[in-house]
């Protein structure tokens, strides 16, 4: 099991993202439930933009919905006002197959037509199944298929790598 400092990665991402917020028309930070939203909260706190934080629950847009069903405990999506013509900073914790991001973009477009979507990822673990890449990456960590990376913790966020042997 490897521990990664989430705090350090968030600080690096904050630094990289800061210039985007030096304008009057600030981007909207949107986190994907549940892990991505936690990271988005941290970034939103550090960058403290004038725009409110948005939340996406992509359950209704998953391509494996009929296989895995719903998780009703996940809170509904909420976006602050219109996203038409805005820049969206879309945040997720782990980038793997790319399917979550595809679902998130489909959902965003049902709210409006953003000018631009930028993807921010804490950990890029490789293993893409779709042509989707992040614009800002905390760290790259190529993992095997039988490995899982999870964001944990309530106050202090931690990343841990688990081996799933079956």
């Amino acid at each position: 099991m490897t521990d990664l400092s989430v705090e350090t990665l968030i600080n690096q991402l904050t630094e990289a993202l800061a210039p985007l917020f030096y304008t009057d028309d600030q981007p909207i930070i949107v986190g994907i439930e549940t892990g991505g939203y936690r990271i988005a909260q941290a970034l939103h706190e550090k960058l403290s933009p004038d725009t409110e934080l948005g939340k996406l629950n992509i359950t209704f847009y998953r391509d494996d919905y009929t296989k895995i069903g719903l998780h009703p405990t996940v809170k509904p999506s909420s976006l602050p006002g219109t996203i038409d013509g805005k820049t969206i900073v879309l945040v997720d914790d782990v980038l793997y197959s790319g399917r979550t991001i595809r679902a998130a973009m489909n959902e965003l477009f049902d709210y409006g037509r953003p000018e631009k979507i930028l993807l921010v990822i804490l950990v890029d673990r490789g293993g893409r199944e779709l042509p989707i890449q992040a614009d800002f990456i905390g760290t790259r960590l190529p993992l095997e298929n039988n490995q899982q990376i999870k964001l944990e913790g309530t106050d202090e966020l931690k990343l841990s790598i688990l081996h799933t042997d079956d």
Partner: protein, 322 residues
């Protein structure tokens, strides 16, 4: 028991939605929580999610309905399903086709979900027993038996306004005997651990041994309304009334009609519900129906989100078990 288990997959997931009986607290809570997520979908500019994209839903209505049929239709469309509306009383049934033949013909058109309303109790169960694996059946009202989505949208309305069930007193007033809505509501309220469920009706409009349903029986409206949090008025079902169960509609209103004056007996923040269609001046006074304690139109709005929740849940349950 067989009929009730019919609703669940081997993993305990909902695959048909036929009656509240046979379900458990956790499934009912899941429906309410899922519906909560769908309310945000119905509030945004594009009121559609792709969950049922490519699926075909058939609305089979053997009995007239405006509200239920149209909210099922909207729910299916907002889930991106294709929908086929069939009013059977004007088509095959008139020509003598059996229920089973109608079903098989529709299955030949690759329907994924049947929403069925029928005048005979048990018809949705009958359908569910005969559909192919992977096809779901949703009961939109069968005879005097059950109307489970109506009950769930009522539960959703109560939870939205009162936030819990444990400390509530709920009175269901009117024609309990002929009401599939009341039967489903009583089961749902009890499964959700409602503090007290009352039924208020003249003896002629109560089922035999009503107490065994887990309710307190009242014959006088003034007593039944005392300190309740929720009042659910039922429609006087004139079309189901055979024989002299009531002296007259006027007399019924005098004894069991909900007036503004009587509503004062309930708690000050009590809500008034009605599954519709309401008979103004028979079971409910117009001013109460349009008053600020009435949540009757919200029930209609919530009906869409609740039906979306049930449809999305049974589709994933049916796929898994096929």
């Amino acid at each position: 028991m067989k009929n009730n288990n019919l609703q669940l997959s081997s993993e305990g997931k909902l695959k048909h939605f036929l009656s509240i009986e046979g379900l458990n607290h956790s499934i009912l809570s899941d429906i309410l929580d899922t519906a909560e997520s769908f309310t945000s979908v119905t509030e945004r500019s594009i009121k559609k999610v792709p969950i049922l994209r490519g699926k075909t839903v058939a609305n089979l209505f053997f009995e007239a309905s405006t509200r239920t049929r149209s909210t099922f239709e909207l729910a299916a469309q907002r889930l991106s399903a294709d929908i086929l509306n069939l009013n059977i009383d004007t088509s095959a049934a008139v020509k003598g086709e059996s229920l089973l033949d109608t079903l098989h013909n529709l299955e030949a058109m690759q329907i994924d979900m049947f929403v069925i309303r029928h005048q005979d109790s048990g018809s949705a169960h009958f359908f569910a027993q005969h559909v192919n694996p992977g096809v779901s059946v949703l009961n939109a009202g069968d005879g005097q038996h059950a109307h489970p989505t109506q009950a769930m949208l009522d539960m959703f309305t109560i939870r939205r306004h009162k936030h819990q069930f444990e400390n509530l007193t709920v009175a269901i007033v009117g024609d309990i005997k002929h009401s599939r809505v009341a039967r489903s509501q009583i089961h749902a309220l009890n499964l959700l651990n409602t503090g007290q469920v009352r039924v208020v009706a003249p003896p002629t409009l109560l089922p035999e041994q009503a107490e065994t349903l887990g309710v307190q029986v009242y014959h006088k409206l003034n007593k039944g309304l005392k300190d309740v949090d929720v009042v659910i008025m039922l429609r006087l079902q004139k079309e189901r009334m055979t024989g002299a169960l009531l002296p007259s509609e006027k007399e019924y209103f005098r004894q069991y009609g909900l007036t503004a004056e009587r509503l004062k007996l309930a708690k000050a923040d009590a809500i008034v519900m009605h599954p519709g269609p309401a008979n103004r001046g028979i079971e409910i006074e117009s001013s109460v129906m349009d008053g600020n304690q009435s949540v009757i139109l919200q029930q209609v709005t919530y009906g869409i989100a609740v039906r979306m929740a049930v449809m999305s849940m049974i589709v994933s349950g049916a796929v898994e078990s096929s």
